[in-house]
């Protein structure tokens, strides 16, 4: 359904999202990671937030592209693996809560603090679960998202 370049860009995008997402917590300075030459920018909360937004935009584009292709054509030929289904659901929750965070940061929008807390905890918690699921899939050899048919690229 996708070509290797798309897959590489998607992986790079996820890496940057994870890195800038973790950078939203004040830990890179605490643990001297931001002291490593070239990584000082990881301690700039505004900069990492903007990078998170930019790559979040790319992620939203790629995800909706994939969903549309799968819904309109791919599902006739491909089936999600159980590991793929799990990660896809986790991605959707993380992306949806991320989008809600963008909305609540708008000047004209105010969510009540409890709702914001639920969104933040969900975003953080499911991002961590996604990381665990991705590691599990990687090390257990359950990397493919699709049970593809011969002759079609995944």
């Amino acid at each position: 359904m996708t070509n290797p370049l798309f897959t590489r860009i998607f992986k790079l995008n996820i890496f940057i999202m994870a890195l800038t997402g973790v950078a939203q917590m004040p830990i890179f300075k605490r643990y001297y990671i931001a002291d490593i030459p070239g990584l000082g920018w990881l301690n700039d909360f505004y900069l990492t937030n903007k990078i998170h937004y930019i790559f979040g935009t790319v992620l939203l584009f790629m995800t909706l592209y994939l969903l549309t292709v799968f819904a309109l054509g791919g599902k006739q030929y491909f089936k999600l693996t159980s590991s793929g289904m799990l990660r896809a659901v986790l991605y959707l929750i993380v992306i949806a809560t991320g989008a809600l965070r963008v909305v609540k940061n708008l000047h004209s929008v105010t969510f009540d603090p409890f709702t914001v807390m639920v969104i933040d905890w969900t975003h953080l918690g499911f991002a961590m679960l996604l990381g665990v699921a991705a590691m599990f899939a990687f090390f257990k050899g359950r990397k493919p998202y699709l049970e593809g048919l011969p002759g079609f690229r995944r």
Partner: protein, 325 residues
């Protein structure tokens, strides 16, 4: 407390509904909780402040139950070379800057302007930004902005990472080690206490009362009410007296408007600045770039769907072609 006419201020405020009526009232009696749903804003007329400190004392007294009560010894926090204890519990009397036990202090400055020397006293505390970066960027949902414009830090949830202090243009929140949720998680490796700052006496406002600093002020320095009315009043006074405004546009707009007989650039040059001592520099909207990027975030899903439709069409066409072959 009863006014001269025998009506208690509390009941008076409770009975006050329409925001538009607020402008007709004396400064201290501007409605505390507008039913219009508009954000609450305060106006500080610096020409009136005599630095008597009543507001500082009242803030401490009313909010004492919210102050941290840490238990010692504090857990070791790693790496010890980087993570420092911030303990104000033995210095609760400090009142010349912001601390976890002092959410309001008075800055004083002498400024030569217009051929005369002005002595200006300035109550300083959280400005309650309209699009507060502390609330927007807290990764843990501990800082939040209420619909009535009050920006609060939830002391039950805050881990004391102090990101809010870093991203605040005035670095207002202050940390106390040894209290809060982090003690029950991984105290050695994440968190460092709880951040504290002015919460605009949200509990009093919820009861229809005035924040302590406003209630206690003998000089009526502060006025509180719906933002549009406070801003209109600020402009009216500024125009009438050739005064200067700070807080209306700073950081995209705050719900604290300062009115001064001298320019804030001059005040900024002479006031003591440092930890817990904010200045009066010009502050751009911290979240302006995110506001613009949000448009891209909003467009991206639709662009993705459009691209997906095109790709699916091609995919189906090629799959159908193969089938026919």
């Amino acid at each position: 407390m009863r006014d001269k006419n025998g009506i208690s201020r509390r009941n008076f405020l409770k009975g006050l509904g329409a925001g538009s009526a607020a402008m007709l009232l004396p400064a201290r009696d501007v409605a505390a909780a507008p039913k219009s749903g508009e954000e609450l804003c305060t106006l500080l007329d610096l020409s009136k402040c005599i630095a008597c400190g009543e507001c500082v004392s009242a803030c401490r007294e009313v909010n004492e139950s919210k102050f941290p009560e840490p238990k010692k010894p504090y857990p070791e926090m790693y790496p010890t070379s980087r993570v420092k204890v911030e303990d104000w519990s033995e210095r609760r009397d400090v009142d010349d800057h912001l601390t976890p036990y002092n959410w309001l202090y008075i800055q004083s400055a002498e400024v030569d302007f217009g051929g005369q020397t002005h002595e200006i006293n300035i109550p300083r505390r959280c400005l309650h930004c309209r699009n507060a970066p502390c609330a927007n960027l807290c990764p843990w949902g501990a800082a939040g902005k209420q619909k009535n414009g009050i920006v609060r830090i939830n002391e039950d949830v805050c881990l004391g990472g102090a990101k809010c202090r870093t991203v605040c243009p005035w670095h207002i929140p202050q940390r106390q080690t040894g209290v809060g949720l982090y003690l029950r998680l991984m105290p050695g490796f994440a968190g460092n206490g709880v951040m504290y700052k002015c919460d605009r006496c949200y509990n009093l406002i919820n009861q229809g009362e005035l924040p302590a600093c406003i209630e206690a002020c003998p000089e009526d320095v502060q006025t509180i009410g719906p933002r549009s009315e406070i801003v209109a009043k600020a402009h009216e006074l500024a125009k009438k007296n050739n005064w200067f405004i700070y807080g209306e546009e700073e950081n995209g707009g705050t719900n604290t408007i300062y009115l001064s007989p001298v320019p804030f650039e001059l005040l900024n040059e002479v006031v003591d600045k440092g930890i817990g001592r904010p200045g009066f520099s010009a502050v751009e909207d911290s979240m302006a770039d995110e506001e613009k990027l949000a448009y891209a975030v909003g467009i991206a899903p639709f662009a993705g769907i459009a691209a997906g439709v095109i790709k699916a069409g091609k995919f189906l066409a090629s799959a159908g072609g193969r089938k026919n072959d």
